[in-house]
């Protein structure tokens, strides 16, 4: 039977360590080339972006099996945190079968899945990526968030 995928000790810090290793091998502007073996780089469509925002290209690097964290870079830490708060309330659904944890590191949103069965993770990831894509489009289409004094 499938082995349980556990969050590594130290939470986001531990995952971040592993992710840095992978992300340095996936340059933002190239699709596919430079990917490590077993890694999947998915490029979402470019955002519309307003004047001065530049191209908002979202790159999601899915670590290979054995790793367990999705890293989604945003333009600003505020945007990553907004995305986290938009997606978090639904993470509580189906908690018996699968656990999703969110963290924000700089302007990256980190999402970690934990489940007994890899199949549940796959089932959870697909709809999640759809919701995430919608949040990203939403942020891009409505323009920059208001200046707030959040750290």
């Amino acid at each position: 039977h499938a082995t349980a995928m556990q969050a590594s000790g130290g939470g986001a810090g531990g995952a971040e360590g592993r992710d840095d290793q992978h992300s340095s091998r996936t340059p933002a502007c190239q699709s596919g080339s430079g990917s490590a073996e077993g890694e999947d780089v998915h490029r979402a469509p470019e955002g519309r972006g307003g004047p001065g925002r530049g191209r908002a290209v979202i790159e999601a690097a899915v670590a290979r099996p054995g790793g367990d964290t999705l890293r989604v870079p945003f333009q600003l830490p505020l945007e990553a945190d907004m995305a986290r708060r938009s997606l978090l309330p639904d993470a509580q659904r189906h908690q018996g079968l699968i656990r999703k944890e969110f963290a924000v590191n700089g302007s990256d949103l980190l999402v970690r899945w934990t489940a007994e069965d890899l199949a549940f993770i796959r089932l959870s990831m697909n709809p999640f990526l759809d919701q995430l894509s919608l949040v990203i489009q939403n942020i891009q289409s409505l323009g920059p968030p208001p200046r707030q004094s959040l750290s």
Partner: protein
């Protein structure tokens, strides 16, 4: 004069509405229609909603002639409804609320129907018949709750009609119920179907099984036409709804009845309810398809009442829930 933006997408309709001080400033909507003989599934419905919701948002603001600064509150459907579609709409409501730095409110879908019905018709304290593809309830207001006096013990009346439409491969455009209604007008023969009122409640799943079975047989032998079956089904289920509504009205001594929900568009149902109301000296209220059928403005309107009464939902509590009883909400905005 607060203006509230409302998002609705609990079933196959996705709508964004704007309401300010009792005026509907915008109410665009799209419907996900599937081929005849099929129904709509959660994942596909959510995909449909995601594809159009941001455009609908812009349409609503443009139609209302407002910008984000003019909006005071974001309301969205917390439930009840289908999971994936509810989530798709909720994530946008949460994102918009953060981007514009506005308070957010989770609204009960059924209460949205009721509050829009009250607003549009001006009914003061009606007995409400809420009938749609997902819900069938008889509701009366008492002491800060919309109390459920009677309801279906299995499927909604609209679900019964929609699933029967699949058996006959009736088109789902604009809705299966609408097409059944048109066919029923040409029905001539009343086929006897089970009549299942249980006290204050009703049951439709047995009638559906029965008519699915009968349809195959009778259409094959030519004993009746599809139009006769549509007519017979409507006459039976609508009579049941009239009975339980009348029972609630008698219990409450009510002189007003209000029909809300997508099935409330049905003119035959309105006729039958009107007959009953006239016999009791009561008044019947109903809305047109802009507001009967799920829409964003009804969520905005319920949200407006809640906002004025001081309700706020912390972002961390803006989850959705597929089961959300009408009487779970404390209706603090009414006496």
């Amino acid at each position: 004069m607060p203006a509230v933006l409302g998002f609705e997408g609990s079933a196959n309709k996705i709508g964004v509405g704007v309401v300010r001080d009792g005026k509907v400033l915008a109410n665009p909507r799209r419907t996900y229609v599937t081929p005849p003989g099929t129904g709509f599934l959660p994942g596909d419905t959510a995909r449909h909603h995601r594809a159009v919701i941001l455009d609908l948002l812009q349409e609503a603001l443009t139609e209302a002639g407002l910008t984000s600064e003019d909006i005071d509150c974001i309301a969205y459907t917390k439930g009840p409804g289908m999971g994936a579609p509810l989530v798709s709409v909720a994530v946008v409501a949460r994102t918009v609320a953060q981007l514009w730095n506005k308070p957010i409110l989770g609204v009960n879908h059924c209460i949205g129907h009721i509050e829009m019905g009250r607003l549009i018709t001006g009914a003061t304290n009606p007995t409400v018949l809420y009938v749609s593809g997902g819900n069938t309830q008889v509701i009366a207001y008492s002491e800060h709750r919309y109390r459920i006096f009677g309801e279906t013990i299995d499927i909604a009346v609209g679900n019964c009609l929609d699933r029967f439409a699949r058996v006959l491969k009736i088109s789902n455009d604009p809705s299966p119920g609408y097409n059944i209604e048109q066919m029923a007008k040409r029905g001539k023969k009343l086929v006897e179907l089970p009549y299942t009122v249980k006290g204050m409640d009703v049951s439709f799943s047995g009638i559906l099984s029965f008519i699915e079975d009968v349809a195959q047989r009778m259409l094959a032998t030519g004993e009746c036409t599809p139009e006769d079956l549509c007519f017979s089904l409507q006459e039976t289920v609508f009579a049941m709804l009239v009975e339980i509504t009348e029972r609630a009205m008698a219990h409450c001594g009510s002189q007003e009845a209000l029909i809300v929900g997508g099935v409330g568009c049905n003119v035959r149902l309105q006729e039958m309810m009107e007959t009953m109301c006239q016999e009791r000296g009561a008044r019947l209220f109903a809305t047109d398809e802009r507001f009967c059928i799920d829409n964003g403005a009804m969520i905005a309107q319920a949200g407006w009442e809640m906002f004025q009464a001081g309700h706020r939902t912390p972002l961390s509590e803006t989850g959705i829930t597929q089961r959300y009883r009408t009487d779970e909400v404390e209706v603090t905005w009414r006496d």
